[in-house]
């Protein structure tokens, strides 16, 4: 019996868009709106089928325990981002619709791939589509951002392929179910290379340096996509590889992973403090968040993976929220920290959205970010890492400092010399932000275990 899955819906959607655009050109219809609506409809149908039927289970792809949850929130966030994109300018290039669906499909496939080949292809689907998304959405530095992204991404995927070939040499197979039983030296070297390659995608230090530049150069909605959906895919790929495909339990690997994670958190937080531009602060904070999720993966056990998956969910939602809210301010030329004076008067809803998102990123209750950090701490303390927890407390204080520093300068009531530009699609944008804020408040009810 053939089951309808969200992945099939997305593939169908991608083809449908190409056909529809062809028809549009043949019938000489100038308006591209209809295609935007089709894209949105495809995303929504995919979300519904995901919730109702779950993932597909064919040769190269098999669902793991929480892939339904992960794919569900990936589609949910994609819908939110796409609504924002749509409301922004009314019409945009059809390429963007196509690439957006393609990248989302790639993210969905990463989550369920059960073979190194399918994993690499899925990651490449996200990457190639993302270059296009960065380039085709007009900003003044699009070319720089896209070029940086392309060159770094190529490097990372080459490293992954090289590592995979070593794994193949060691085990004679690329299927996760077979590699999980191997233990052989070149094989382990391959694992190290795969780690390095995947770290590029999920911005783990020292492979993070492309992220702030690319985020800054791309449009706010695209940044939201890169920092949530694309990064979720990277981190889930790591879970897939290091927990399901190559289940080590060696102490050395664990210490190495924890060191990388702590280095990521510390480095990104320190860099965030010295930044001047709001978007770069948010970019570095998003790197630090990936470090927190990586701690859960580093524990290499079920409790750690649980906490990592939930943490990825919390920070993905919060990151989408802050970048989308910041997009509203970006359009009103609020770029530097000192400009944050005008935030509240520009848009109340976006300010509240930004603030709640920051609360969640800083790990303060009652937002869902707190519960994400709680699970991470619980994992660490269960393993007796009291010192690491204390060090993380210190760095969370640091991050609280720069997160709250963003909104400190805000003025609540004085209006002098502020020209309010009308925000296009204001109603839809505010609705999206409000839905995401509510998600952050009630998100704890979605704990998948």
């Amino acid at each position: 019996m053939i089951q309808i899955n969200s992945e099939y819906v997305m593939i169908g959607g991608v083809l449908l868009i190409i056909l529809a655009d062809l028809l549009r050109v043949m019938l000489r219809v100038d308006s591209r709106r209809i295609i935007h609506y089709i894209t949105l409809l495809v995303l929504i149908i995919a979300f519904i089928t995901e919730v109702m039927f779950g993932n597909m289970d064919v040769s190269f792809f098999s669902s793991m325990q929480y892939s339904g949850f992960i794919n569900g929130f990936i589609l949910f966030l994609s819908i939110a981002i796409y609504l924002f994109l749509m409301s922004d300018s009314g019409e945009h290039s059809v390429f963007i619709d196509f690439l957006f669906l393609f990248a989302t499909l790639g993210a969905l496939l990463v989550v369920i791939s059960s073979n190194f080949i399918s994993l690499i292809i899925a990651i490449e689907m996200i990457s190639i589509a993302s270059y296009g998304l960065v380039f085709f959405h007009k900003t003044d530095r699009q070319l720089e951002g896209a070029m940086k992204y392309v060159s770094i991404s190529f490097l990372s995927i080459i490293i992954v392929i090289f590592g995979t070939s070593m794994i193949y040499g060691g085990s004679g197979s690329l299927s996760f179910s077979i590699t999980s039983t191997q233990n052989y030296l070149p094989f382990i070297a391959g694992v190290g290379l795969v780690l390095a390659g995947l770290s590029f995608k999920s911005t783990i230090v020292p492979f993070h340096m492309w992220a702030p530049d690319v985020y800054e150069a791309s449009d706010g909605t695209i940044t939201a996509f890169l920092s949530s959906v694309s990064k979720t895919a990277g981190l889930v790929a790591m879970i897939r590889v290091f927990f399901f495909a190559l289940p080590f339990s060696s102490n050395f690997v664990m210490v190495m992973f924890v060191t990388l994670a702590i280095a990521t958190i510390f480095f990104a937080s320190f860099m965030a403090i010295v930044q001047d531009k709001i978007k770069r602060i948010l970019a570095y904070s998003s790197i630090a968040q990936a470090g927190f999720a990586f701690i859960g993966i580093a524990m290499l056990n079920l409790l750690g993976v649980h906490s990592a998956i939930f943490y990825v969910f919390t920070f993905a939602v919060a990151d989408v929220l802050v970048f989308l809210a910041y997009k509203v301010f970006e359009d009103n030329k609020i770029v530097y920290k000192k400009d944050s004076k005008r935030m509240f008067l520009t848009s109340k809803v976006a300010t509240i959205g930004l603030f709640v998102g920051l609360l969640s990123l800083a790990g303060l209750p009652p937002t869902v970010g707190f519960f994400g950090k709680l699970l991470i701490f619980q994992t660490l303390l269960t393993h007796g890492y009291v010192y690491i927890v204390v060090a993380l407390f210190a760095i969370i204080l640091f991050s609280t400092f720069y997160y709250f520093g963003l909104i400190m300068e805000m003025e609540l009531s004085k209006v002098n010399g502020i020209v309010r530009k009308p925000i296009p699609g204001r109603r839809i944008k505010e609705a999206v932000i409000i839905v995401l804020v509510l998600t952050l408040f009630i998100g704890v009810a979605f704990v998948p275990f």
């Binding site: 209750p365 619980q378 407390f393 704990v447």
Partner: protein, 471 residues
């Protein structure tokens, strides 16, 4: 029977009403909504005192044991009294002082109100922590956006960083308790506390101690408090000194001396010495202040030092005295902060050296100021006396040298009385010749404070019978 849940729900409904009202372009003044919330909550509380409270529990996520469980622990009632009454008494100051962004201010004020109540009645540690942090965030905003223009940003950030560090260590303690007992419920934890290995319970107590030392605050980690007080609006100061500091005492009692008595007992003498150091340091620091509000802030560190001595004496008389002193100090310091706020408003300064002879211009104000100062110095018949006496008895029984802190009381008498002399009784400063006396509204607010102080002072058994030293 009154359900404890209703005490938390009513202020949250108030916050929602404020948001709706703001969307409907403020048809009702936000002050009135806040006032209604205070009156309804207080009515619920006092009828609950008479008819008893019923517990309630709402499970949110069972796999991580997160539930909103409301249950009165043995020591909650006096703290609950503070959390319910003081914000309502401070409301009048907010009514007069806050001009810009009223809706947002009352939203944060009601949020801190509901979460202060929530902290004292939660028996699930996660919901406890959620309320604990919401208090912190709403106070950060009250100071940062409605504080004094020059200092508010720095002071609010200092407040946030210090107290957030305390919160995080407290969270660490909670998670450790969960790992070793398998539950976040205080009742379950206290039943299974013997399962926790000794070294883990020492780490837990160290974490709780850091949180309490920052929150109360005790000597080396106190420096956020004077800054926060000086910058905060009066209503914020009343809540800050009256209830927030008591949260520190509450966790030290609950998770320290009641949950882990053996650990506290082994650290008793160093803790008492820390308390004595706080007492001596804060009185000396207070003597050097010329800003009246800063002086009160340091004196409240002094009283929290006494409370700390009483709790770490691990002796029922001392602990009873500590709870008693926290309640009485809450009312007295609230009254003093209201008086300091009025002083700034009427004369334009809180600098004691620039004031003088206000007795002739403001007789009613003079009456309340002298009353509050006399009460804070522990004159028999007023509330502080009972608490101080019990603490000194308890501390003497355990560690006689702790009576050094009596010197602190002496110095406190000196600086308070000389401040009162300077403000009220020297010759009138010419710039102050047009100052007017307080309004009837202020007088009613101050009288309400006085009623509580006198009642508790004359009939101490109201407080001492309302709690038992158990979880």
């Amino acid at each position: 029977m009154i359900n404890l849940l209703s005490l938390v729900i009513v202020p949250i409904l108030g916050v929602i009403a404020l948001a709706v009202d703001s969307a409907a372009s403020n048809r009702v003044r936000p002050e009135y909504i806040a006032l209604i919330v205070f009156l309804v909550t207080a009515a619920l509380f006092f009828s609950g005192i008479l008819s008893g409270f019923s517990e309630s529990s709402i499970t949110i996520v069972s796999s991580i044991d997160f539930a909103f469980t409301f249950h009165l622990s043995g020591i909650s009632t006096p703290f609950l009294l503070l959390a319910i009454v003081l914000p309502a008494l401070g409301f009048w100051s907010a009514f007069r002082e806050i001009n810009g962004g009223k809706t947002l201010f009352y939203m944060f004020y009601l949020l801190s109100y509901t979460s202060l109540i929530g902290v004292f009645i939660s028996s699930n540690l996660l919901s406890f922590f959620v309320f604990w942090e919401v208090v912190l965030i709403s106070f950060f905003f009250i100071i940062a956006f409605w504080g004094e223009e020059e200092t508010r940003r720095r002071a609010s950030m200092k407040f946030l960083i210090f107290t957030q560090f305390g919160s995080l260590t407290l969270l660490g303690a909670f998670i450790l308790m969960y790992i070793y007992t398998g539950s976040f419920n205080i009742g379950v934890i206290s039943a299974a506390v013997s399962d926790i290995p000794t070294y883990i319970s020492e780490i837990i107590f160290a974490f709780v101690l850091i949180a309490a030392v920052i929150k109360m605050p005790i000597f080396p980690l106190h420096s956020w408090l004077p800054d926060a007080h000086v910058s905060a609006p009066t209503a914020g100061s009343v809540l800050l000194a009256g209830v927030l500091l008591k949260m520190g005492g509450y966790i030290l009692l609950l998770f320290g001396s009641l949950l882990l008595p053996s650990v506290v007992k082994s650290l008793q003498v160093p803790l008492i010495i820390l308390g004595v150091a706080t007492v001596i340091y804060s009185t000396l620091a207070a003597s050097a202040q010329v800003d009246f509000k800063r002086m009160i802030a340091y004196s409240s560190i002094f009283y929290m030092g006494l409370v700390f001595i009483g709790i770490s004496s691990m002796y029922s008389i001392g602990e009873t005295g500590s709870i008693f002193l926290m309640v009485s100090h809450g009312f007295i310091v609230g009254m003093l902060f209201v008086l300091a706020g009025i002083l700034k408003e009427k004369t334009g300064t809180r600098d004691i050296t620039k004031l003088g002879g206000l007795m002739t211009r403001m007789p009613m104000y003079a009456f309340f100021l002298v009353f509050a100062v006399v009460a804070t110095l522990g004159v028999p018949g007023l509330s502080n006396f009972v608490g101080e006496l019990l603490i000194f008895i308890g501390a003497y029984a355990v560690y006689p040298l702790s009576l050094i802190s009596l010197v602190g009381v002496l110095i406190a008498t000196n600086y308070y009385l000389s401040a009162v002399k300077r403000i009220l009784f020297t010759s009138l400063n010419k710039t102050l010749s047009k100052v007017r006396d307080i309004s009837y509204g202020d007088a009613i607010q101050l009288s309400l404070f006085s009623v509580f102080i006198i009642t508790i002072g004359l009939i101490p058994s109201i407080i001492t019978n309302s709690f038992s030293l158990s979880i």
